[in-house]
């Protein structure tokens, strides 16, 4: 059950503050066959999932990270002296959703989708590093073009943009909402 490679990978994931990807792991563990690395990593993740520990390894942003379990949230926040859950405001989330699904987008495109000026919300999202500027659009005024960042994936626990809720899931939600109204 215990292998040196598995222990090594455990250490590497432990010190990582950003998702440790398989490529990065292979680069660090020069000469170790990729299949062995994958097998050891899989085993390690399974260990954490079954051993009844306080932390687990999550796959997020295309890599692995240690994470506390949701049940410990209250005490963790008490330790870190964070009183409230810091959720995005509804305006912030709406802006983020518009960008996530329509990227790359400009400020005016986001504002048009929402019907509300979104300059302030964009600024906040930039400060939170959930979105990034990727360039300027070749259009009058050369407006800035925005995309979601890697931190965005991490924030929502996604591995890639492909994992965003799909059109079908959204349609399903809309159906449900209409059913409730009716």
């Amino acid at each position: 059950m215990n292998s040196p490679l598995k222990n090594l990978i455990e250490s590497l994931i432990f010190v990582s503050q950003e998702p440790l990807t398989a490529e990065r792991l292979r680069a660090v563990l020069e000469g170790v066959p990729a299949a062995d690395i994958q097998a050891a990593a899989d085993e390690l993740i399974a260990d954490y999932a079954t051993d009844g520990r306080g932390i687990h390894i999550v796959r997020v942003g295309g890599g692995w990270l240690f994470s506390t379990k949701p049940a410990h949230d209250r005490e963790v926040r008490r330790l870190l002296q964070i009183e409230r859950k810091n959720r995005l405001s509804s305006a912030g989330l709406e802006t983020l959703a518009a960008i996530a699904y329509r990227q790359p987008v400009t400020q005016s495109e986001v504002s048009a989708i929402r019907g509300v000026d979104s300059t302030g919300a964009l600024k906040t999202l930039l400060e939170k590093k959930l979105i990034k500027i990727v360039g300027r659009k070749k259009a009058p005024g050369s407006p800035l073009v925005y995309r979601t960042s890697d931190a965005f994936l991490l924030y929502l626990g996604l591995n890639s943009l492909d994992e965003l809720p799909s059109e079908e899931e959204i349609a399903k939600i809309l159906e449900e909402e209409k059913a409730v109204d009716a």
Binding site: T68, R87, A91, E94, S118
Partner: protein
């Protein structure tokens, strides 16, 4: 942030001005709040169980304007956005009333643009509720990318009081300055002769003095000036030599060898 303004627009007089508005439960009370004009339109359409592809523009415009009338809080930024959509609704209605020369089938429904926007916005809203679920699931799982605050609560206080700190420092500085002034008025006598002896003594003792260091140690401007004259005099009479290695670097002063041997300047 301007967005917060929209959150404070109640559709009706808000039920209870809850003091717990900041608690997570407090947000529940404020559910009937619209992110913007499209949000409000969608709400009205749903409330009246209207088919989004066949909106009775006149009726919905009336409801929409009713809402704007009832709204007690006025925020000019948001108001403009709400009014813009009101104007758009009226424009669409006018387009529909105008007799057309071409056949309707060929002509696009004047409502189509707005309907497309509403449908897109509806999707974004639905996506929001899914993303919110994800967010709620994620923010309770702490990862090491979170850097905990290094300071305890007590240490954070000065930051909050920085304005007072600033004012305090300023008044302290003013006080010190006025103290300086009084001293100058009192006019403590510093004679060139006395200072010259002091300086030469210092140079003999240390062989070298750092120009900047030496002047920073002076209490008053007057004393510093006298010392400066002394150094100029010593350099002029070739008793001391002043050296600066590089531009803007400190100037070092030392006694010439012959002067050092003969002792003090006469």
């Amino acid at each position: 942030m301007p967005e917060t303004a929209a959150e404070t627009l109640p559709i009706e007089e808000s039920p209870v001005p809850s003091p717990s508005a900041e608690s997570p439960e407090g947000y529940q009370v404020r559910l009937e709040i619209f992110e913007g004009p499209l949000d409000l339109l969608l709400f009205l359409i749903r409330k009246k169980k209207i088919d989004i592809h066949d909106i009775p523009i006149a009726a919905i415009t009336r409801d929409y304007l009713d809402y704007l009338d009832r709204k007690t809080e006025i925020n000019l930024d948001r108001e403009a956005e709400f009014l813009f959509i009101a104007a758009l609704l009226i424009y669409i209605k006018s387009q529909m009333l105008l007799p057309r020369e071409t056949d309707l089938a060929e002509h696009e429904d004047p409502r189509q643009g707005l309907v497309n926007r509403l449908l897109e916005y509806e999707k974004v809203k639905a996506a929001c509720s899914l993303l919110r679920e994800r967010e709620d699931g994620q923010i309770v799982q702490w990862k090491r990318d979170f850097i905990p605050p290094l300071h305890g609560e007590n240490e954070l206080e000065p930051v909050e009081l920085s304005l007072f700190d600033l004012a305090e420092s300023f008044f302290l500085m003013m006080k010190r300055r006025s103290a300086d002034d009084t001293r100058t008025i009192r006019g403590r006598d510093v004679s060139i002769e006395v200072k010259m002896k002091e300086l030469v003594g210092l140079l003999q003792e240390r062989h070298m003095i750092d120009f900047l260091e030496y002047f920073e140690a002076h209490a008053s401007l007057e004393e510093a000036l006298v010392s400066f004259f002394c150094i100029l005099e010593l350099v002029k009479s070739r008793v001391a030599v002043a050296v600066q290695d590089e531009l803007f670097q400190t100037i070092r002063v030392w006694l010439r060898k012959d002067a050092r041997r003969t002792g003090a300047h006469e």
